[in-house]
Symmetry: C2
Subunit: 138 residues, 2 copies
DNA sequence: ATTACTGCAAAGCATTTGCAGACTG
DNA sequence: CAGTCTGCAAATGCTTTGCAGTAAT
């Protein structure tokens, strides 16, 4: 496990399992599930239990250091460092790879749910398709 | 349970549990979870087991009669009759009511995931906010 | 020294699966 | 009657919770 580089979240006690989880998230190229994090830690010396990882992730989300989401109907939750930016994801229907979208298609959308008086606070967009590697018609 | 009005899906054997599920979905004002359907059937004479409901829903989805989705990170799947129209949902953060959106904010969006070569096939949009009844600032 | 954290085991919840008897076409 | 469904039970996969020993400040 490489050294910790992130600024440690304020008011959070520094422990080995937490450092491991944060480190894995730092080196992740895409959002990870709890299980992903679990297996990436296992490779190294220390063993951190899945339940502990869930507790740590919950804490980090609470502290605003980590963001939790889900994509593709009903799958596992995925986690990533909070970069404080509006983000959406594209999911490959073939390999399930998750690609971050840098442009938000909703930017200019003025929410108006017409006659039902819905007060929109936020939105979530997911795109489905083929990633570069899986595309049968590139 | 009221009488069945829907056209019965082709190639599907007519049984009481299936008729019950279809009928419940017909009279539903919003998408329902398997459990919702379960409890709405229970009120009546026949008891249909949850596992059976899941199997029936799976079959109906396969036959294209029913659409399955999920909203609000990580909840139960919800099901509704397939009206063959592009649809999105707004979810009340307070009471979790689900409101169907009649306008798609992505209509005019030209997908371009820039340099990552993602081939977009479809999308899913969810809006979060307060429904008419729960809005603290109407 | 106190209080919070973690290993570990076991529970919880939505969903799936296995099987034998029941029902449909 | 043959093959498909369904009641029922038990398993599954992700996630949460309880508890007692361990570690952090």
């Amino acid at each position: 496990m490489k050294e910790i580089q992130t600024v440690w979240p304020v008011g959070v006690k520094k422990t080995k399992p937490r450092a491991c989880v944060l480190s894995v998230l730092e080196h992740a190229e895409s959002p990870l599930s709890a299980m992903d994090i679990y297996s990436r830690i296992e490779k190294d010396t220390s063993t951190v239990w899945l339940s502990t990882i869930y507790r740590i992730l919950e804490l980090f989300v609470e502290k605003g250091v980590v963001v939790k989401t889900t994509v593709m109907n009903n799958e596992m939750a995925i986690y990533e460092l909070n970069h404080y930016q509006h983000k959406h994801y594209a999911v490959c229907v073939s390999c399930r790879k998750i690609v971050a979208m840098n442009n938000c298609p909703m930017e200019k959308f003025v929410p108006k749910l017409a006659d039902n008086g819905f007060h929109v606070l936020g939105h979530k967009v997911e795109m489905y398709g083929y990633c570069k590697e899986c595309d049968p018609n590139p």
